[in-house]
């Protein structure tokens, strides 16, 4: 399994359309802290205080990192079929479920690593920015550890979601399009379509927000633990469906 994971990580490193979004998300993690600390206290906003640190950390490694990890692994998984590299992949390891497992493991490792790196960059930038504003650093604030743990965990799950979606659709443009449509359109219009408002909190984007922002009023929804379990469930369902399809379908035809 180690050699398969190593091959998947080499694919990531050698695919620009996969690692550029990750690098951009890390750059955005720094910019988000700078933007938030610069805007604090202006136009009626909350002034900076030691309590701002957890929110700065969540903002730096939040949805942008999740989106970048999702995109990277959609590109890598669906790209296997677009570029027909699946032929070489499955000649090297004919046990397709082992290959899918290696992809999932690699995606979750990537997510966790990028999430941690984003938090480290966010923490360093926050420390510099808060110090510049003469705000004491409260590393022992209860929300800090939560942010440092949840951001990589969420990003790992989004990596698995990306693998599942890519393997299921096998078409990079369709999978990326569906992910964007879901995040920006579908979850936005579902509340208008259903008389049951509570249903929205069970959807992936809302669950991710609940994990990220915990008990904040903006995302008062599922408890963070339940939301994390819901997201893990979505990842498991998509990954299982992708694995089942990959195990069953033929490789090396025009579509695969």
């Amino acid at each position: 399994m180690r050699s398969l994971v190593s091959a998947e990580l080499l694919k990531l490193r050698s695919t620009r359309s996969a690692w550029i979004p990750l690098a951009a998300a890390l750059a955005a993690a720094v910019l988000a802290v700078i933007a938030n600390t610069s805007a604090a206290g202006h136009a009626g906003g909350t002034p900076l205080s030691p309590a701002a640190l957890p929110e700065l950390l969540r903002a730096s490694g939040g949805q942008l990192v999740d989106g970048a990890v999702l995109l990277a692994w959609i590109v890598l998984s669906a790209g296997e079929f677009r570029h027909r590299t699946s032929v070489t992949t499955f000649l090297g390891e004919p046990n397709r479920l082992r290959v899918v497992s290696a992809k999932l493991l690699s995606a979750m490792l990537t997510g966790a690593a990028v999430g941690l790196l984003a938090e480290a960059l966010g923490a360093a930038t926050s420390a510099a920015a808060l110090s510049a504003h003469h705000v004491p650093l409260a590393w022992n604030h209860p929300g800090v550890l939560g942010a440092v743990v949840t951001v990589p965990l969420l990003a790992a799950l989004f990596g698995a979601l990306g693998v599942g979606l890519g393997l299921l659709l096998r078409n990079t443009a369709a999978a990326v399009g569906l992910a964007l449509m879901w995040a920006f359109v579908v979850e936005g219009i579902i509340p208008a379509l259903t008389p049951e408002p509570g249903i929205v909190r069970w959807l992936p984007e809302a669950a991710a927000n609940a994990v990220l922002h915990g008990a904040s009023p903006a995302a008062a929804a599922l408890p963070a633990g339940v939301a994390l379990t819901v997201l893990a469930g979505y990842a498991a369902v998509l990954a299982s469906a992708g694995a089942a399809l990959t195990a069953r379908r033929e490789i090396g035809t025009a579509s695969g």
């Binding site: 190593s6 694919k11 790209g79 032929v87 070489t88 000649l91 490789i251 090396g252």
Partner: protein
């Protein structure tokens, strides 16, 4: 020495029977040509052998086992099915390093096969910028990574210039002389006649003939492989397995 065996292999795609009750066995340590008209089922047979497609019935084995059950398959079987199986944004060297990882084949071997296939100087370039002939050489390099005793090559001469075709002929001869089993499909019958020791001919998914090239020509009175092929696979001729030659087994 390795053997390839196909037993009563059948593969259907909806209403089309791509491979129809096909049976043959290859002799180890020899080059066997695999010939048939377009759509005869050659590529499908090779994909079935390599576990990339599943048969509806029958069996395809290498050393007595289906490909999927081989331990470290790259070290036993090298396959070239299509030169367009590399990510266009990756260099030739990186594409091979990725292919080598599952079998833990060292980087030194990657450099060896790059050199062997004449791609050493272009190894750092992106595969998307390679010519058809260079992609074919890269695919051949990938097939040779594990130094396998069996090679399954689908149209390996496609896109190669005359010098490349001559180089490929020499390479296959050298590999066969080392005792490797080589199964190679081609539309270039004159080239196949020069390269192969044995030949398997199929038409509409069914076996037409299988045997040593010289025996086949002598037995049927054909003046060349092309002469035999055109006579045996013309639309008017229905495939008649095991009647065109003495035996389906080449071993």
């Amino acid at each position: 020495m390795s053997t390839i065996a196909v037993e009563a292999l059948t593969k259907r795609y909806r209403t089309v029977t791509a491979v129809d009750d096909l049976t043959f066995e290859l002799a180890p340590g020899r080059i066997t040509g695999f010939a048939g008209p377009n759509g005869a089922g050659k590529s499908t047979t090779m994909r079935l052998l390599l576990g990339l497609a599943r048969p509806d019935s029958g069996r395809a084995t290498i050393n007595g086992r289906p490909y999927a059950e081989l331990r470290d398959p790259l070290r036993h079987v090298g396959a070239l099915l299509d030169p367009n199986v590399f990510h266009p944004g990756r260099s030739g060297r990186t594409a091979l390093r990725i292919a080598a990882r599952p079998a833990q084949i060292p980087g030194q071997r990657v450099e060896e096969v790059l050199h062997l296939t004449g791609l050493g100087a272009a190894a750092h370039r992106r595969a998307g910028g390679y010519s058809q002939g260079m992609r074919q050489r890269l695919a051949l390099a990938a097939a040779l990574l594990g130094d396998p005793e069996t090679l399954i090559l689908d149209e390996p001469a496609n896109g190669l210039d005359p010098e490349g075709v001559a180089w490929l002929r020499g390479l296959l001869r050298r590999l066969a002389a080392e005792g490797r089993t080589i199964f190679v499909s081609s539309h270039l019958l004159a080239e196949l006649a020069q390269t192969a020791d044995d030949v398997v001919v199929i038409n509409r998914g069914q076996l037409v003939a299988a045997g040593p090239m010289a025996d086949l020509l002598e037995h049927t009175g054909a003046s060349s492989l092309e002469d035999f092929f055109l006579g045996a696979t013309s639309p008017e001729v229905r495939p008649a397995p095991a009647t065109a030659t003495r035996s389906r087994s080449l071993s």
